[in-house]
């Protein structure tokens, strides 16, 4: 037998930090390497907020890269996240996106698992291999951490603990998106498929906001003072005041834009956690966007919305009206982002580089200090991506 060589796909990366080869969005053979180096590598991924599965036995199915997983609330009220696979022959255990089960039974040979992941039954086990022990066949789980009720997993043993990984500039605003204390109530999803590579979906920047969004202009809605914080490992966090004019003539019902606020709120927070999760709080909408790449082409985004346990009925109704009309795949202010995803994907089939300009002071230096409306904040995440993928940067 000949020795097996694995040739990893590689790419030439330009010397200039503000250039990204458009090919990176289109080269399908990068996907297996992205799975290995990023999705199964040293990164944390949010899976579920505790309020999405509030009752014992509630579960939610999801994916980590291409691995099907599910989160479930056990009899002990603890949330655990498992691979969605029977430990016998690999059949998936849950097939619905959400549900409630007392036990998880594989239909194939009736192996039965508790919500805590233990194998509690397997027919005819006296005829199994010598030394068979049910204890060795619990559901495979992940390293898991919780922040304000949001549960994250990683396949890495070496990545830093969650808060250290996110950094204070990221987790502090995130805590405010998660209601300050995580005491949220789940209000529903908006789910959509976007026809683009996952990296195009999460490459949105600070430069576009006042320019793409005609809705902002039409509504005479000006962004106030704000900051953009970026980290070396590719997380971005925008925070800005919202100055919504008192007199919005373009709309008959301007109450949709009311910012009722609370002491833990600022007008607008948008965060992008590497590799591809977006969190946002515009006015009173609390939103986590779980994102699932469908291979090298296509991404499914699940916009999850929340209210707070302390909200009165009026506030709940307000949050629901706002989220159901302003955000998501049909929303007044975010549909314009969606329209870019497929167009940027088509356009990136052309040769050459995508070039970032706004905020770039030196093309040959990576800058972590960026202004609110700069697009240079995306460059540290590209550098993080390049390093993880092992692509060599050309010499200047």
């Amino acid at each position: 037998m000949s020795e097996k060589f694995i040739i990893e796909p590689t790419m030439e990366w330009p010397a200039k930090y503000n250039e990204v080869p458009k090919e990176v969005f289109e080269k399908e053979e990068l996907w297996p390497l992205e799975l290995e180096k990023i999705f199964y590598g040293d990164e944390w991924h949010p899976v579920v907020h505790q309020s999405e599965i509030p009752n014992i036995g509630d579960y939610k199915a999801a994916d980590l890269g291409e691995i099907p997983i599910f989160a479930v609330r056990g009899e002990d009220n603890k949330i655990r996240i498992f691979q969605n696979t029977c430990t016998h022959r690999g059949t998936t255990l849950v097939t619905e996106s959400l549900g409630n089960k007392k036990e998880f039974e594989c239909p194939y040979h009736r192996w039965l698992f508790s919500p805590e992941g233990e194998l509690v039954g397997c027919p005819n086990s006296r005829e199994f291999t010598p030394g068979f022990d049910k204890k060795d066949f619990s559901l495979p789980t992940f390293r898991t951490e919780e922040f304000c009720g949001l549960y994250f997993i990683t396949m890495s043993d070496t990545v830093a603990p969650l808060k250290e990984y996110l950094g204070k500039d990221f987790y502090e605003p995130l805590s405010r998106i998660l209601g300050g204390d995580g005491r949220l109530k789940f209000a529903g999803y908006q789910k959509v498929h976007y026809d683009c590579n996952w990296k195009a979906y999460c490459d949105n920047d600070g430069y576009h906001a006042p320019l793409l969004h005609l809705a902002f202009k039409m509504l005479n809605w000006q962004g106030g003072k704000g900051v953009q914080n970026v980290s070396e490992n590719g997380h971005l966090s925008f925070e800005s005041e919202l100055k919504i004019p008192d007199d919005i003539t373009a709309l008959k019902d301007a109450s949709i834009l009311d910012f009722k606020g609370t002491e833990t709120s600022t007008g607008s927070i948008v965060q992008m956690q590497f590799p591809l999760t977006v969190y946002s709080k515009h006015m009173d909408m609390l939103n986590v966007r779980y994102a699932y790449p469908k291979g090298p082409k296509g991404i499914e985004v699940h916009y999850a919305y929340f209210t707070h346990e302390d909200d009165d009925d009026e506030m709940i109704e307000h949050r629901i009206r706002q989220a159901s009309n302003l955000l998501g795949p049909c929303g007044l202010i975010s549909m314009e982002d969606a329209s870019i995803f497929s167009r940027i994907d088509k356009g990136n089939k052309t040769p050459g580089m995508a070039i970032f300009q706004k905020g770039v002071k030196d093309e040959y230096q990576l800058e972590l200090k960026v202004g609110q409306n700069d697009e240079s904040g995306n460059l540290p995440r590209w550098e993080h991506y390049r390093k993880l993928m092992g692509f060599k940067r050309a010499e200047s």
């Binding site: 209000a187 529903g188 498929h193 709309l251 019902d253 159901s324 795949p329 549909m335 314009e336």
Partner: protein, 161 residues
């Protein structure tokens, strides 16, 4: 449905026909004209609806919101969205008399879309309408609720269905 007068069925079918023709021609003023001044429109996934989660894709819970939907489609988003042609196929499945000239009507529907008029056609969403219709000087929607089985939309949706 046997107890429902034929002229009621006729009025309800006419209203639905006006509605789907307005959308297929993207005539938003004609779409608005299908609603009563007390009318509401909602587009929601079956996943949310069946589990009692209130978040919708579109939620026009009063007439001013319906008017703003027209403004949004005609003026605010016109330049930034990729237009697609819709074709609505509907089938009336039941009518219930609620009294006071009000009727509950249910339809199944499929909406096809053809993007930019040059590409192949696909299904945008499949679902059901749950309507409350007032028949008084013609028919109008007090409620048109589109509940879609298509929990994951195949693209962003720029127009009501």
């Amino acid at each position: 449905m046997s107890e429902i007068e034929p002229n009621v069925i006729f009025s309800i079918e006419n209203l639905n026909r006006d509605y789907i023709c307005a959308l297929d021609k993207l005539d938003m003023n004609k779409w608005l004209a299908c609603f009563n001044k007390q009318g509401t429109y909602k587009l929601i996934s079956n996943e949310n609806e069946s589990r009692g989660y209130p978040i919708a894709f579109m939620l026009d819970d009063k007439f001013e919101r319906l008017q703003d939907r027209v403004t949004q489609v005609n003026d605010i988003q016109a330049d930034s969205t990729e237009h697609y042609q819709m074709r609505h196929m509907t089938q009336l499945t039941s009518i219930t008399d609620l009294g006071n000239n009000r009727y509950q009507a249910d339809y199944n529907f499929t909406v096809y879309y053809t993007q930019n008029l040059i590409e192949t056609s696909s299904i945008l969403c499949v679902g059901r309408y749950e309507d409350i219709i007032l028949i008084e000087n013609g028919a109008s929607f007090l409620q048109r609720k589109a509940v879609i089985d298509t929990n994951v939309l195949p693209r962003y949706v720029a127009y009501p269905v």
